[in-house]
């Protein structure tokens, strides 16, 4: 656990080989992400994690619209996954990469069938810097950013 105010660190040990731990995280992200945390306050049918650097993580809504809220920055099976968190402190999409945080997940074999998984969500202060920009809320620009806007933002259709 870290005490740095700008990051969140967690770890867990899983009784499976490192390859299986990595595959489960990346192939079943939709299942392991807690359901009670709806990332974007819209009806989401499923979440897709594209398994390659340069891919995205996106939600597909019940009506087929997509919302891309992460960019896969590193995809290195079976040891490392890094992706951006393009979601601001108020659950709105953040389109400026300089104001996005990132998540690194590492998988370390501690035995043939035992893997330590470390997760760090860091650079949260990049979002925090955004408090000042909330002054623009009153002008009605940029808020709220809901499903209709997502369609514009996700210019790249799901393949």
């Amino acid at each position: 656990m870290t005490t740095a105010p700008t990051s969140v660190s967690l770890e867990i040990t899983v009784d499976v080989p490192v390859e299986h731990a990595f595959a489960t995280f990346t192939e079943r992200f939709d299942d392991i992400k807690p359901r009670e945390h709806n990332l974007l306050a819209v009806a989401i049918e499923r979440t897709v994690l594209e398994p390659r650097a340069g891919g995205t993580i996106h939600d597909i809504g019940a009506d087929g619209t997509t919302c891309t809220w992460s960019r896969v920055l590193a995809f290195e099976p079976p040891h490392r996954l890094v992706f951006s968190w393009d979601i601001g402190p108020t659950w709105q999409l953040e389109t400026d990469p300089d104001r996005c945080s990132e998540v690194e997940v590492t998988f370390t074999a501690v035995g043939p069938e035992r893997t330590r998984v470390d997760l760090e969500h860091r650079h949260l202060d990049r979002h925090g810097d955004g408090w000042e920009s909330l002054t623009s809320l009153g002008e009605g620009t940029g808020w709220p950013l809901y499903l209709d806007r997502y369609q514009d933002l996700t210019a790249n259709p799901v393949s």
Partner: protein, 116 residues
């Protein structure tokens, strides 16, 4: 009445209301009283007070006495609720990862793991 230190309501929920976000935006610009906030918005003073109460309970703003009224300002530690939310989100993710990974793992050469 002391300013809330531990949020009693979800800050993410607190920001879900557009009027409340405008109240917060007014406070972000400069510390303001209820009267000053209400003067700048098409919202009554009692309504502004209600919104401020929610923002206080969410730990997003803080209040200090200034003469006969209270001045509301943004709470810089507002990132703490974000961290707590993310800790909860990722904690749940890792717990689910453990459950599903261990359920779906079939040891090689272990007949007890095979389907009949």
């Amino acid at each position: 009445m002391p300013t809330a230190t531990a949020p009693t309501i979800d800050p993410w929920h607190a920001l879900g209301d557009p009027t409340r976000r405008r109240v917060l935006a007014a406070v972000v610009e400069a510390p303001r009283s209820v009267t000053a906030i209400a003067d700048g918005l098409p919202v009554s003073r009692p309504a502004v007070s209600q919104h401020l109460k929610v923002l206080l309970d969410a730990g997003l703003v803080e209040a200090r006495p200034e003469g006969r009224q209270r001045l509301y300002s943004i709470r810089r530690a507002g990132l703490d609720p974000v961290r707590r939310e993310l800790e909860s989100f990722w904690g749940g993710t890792l717990t689910n990862l453990k459950l599903i990974a261990e359920q779906t793992y079939r040891r090689p050469h272990d007949p007890s793991q095979e389907q009949p």
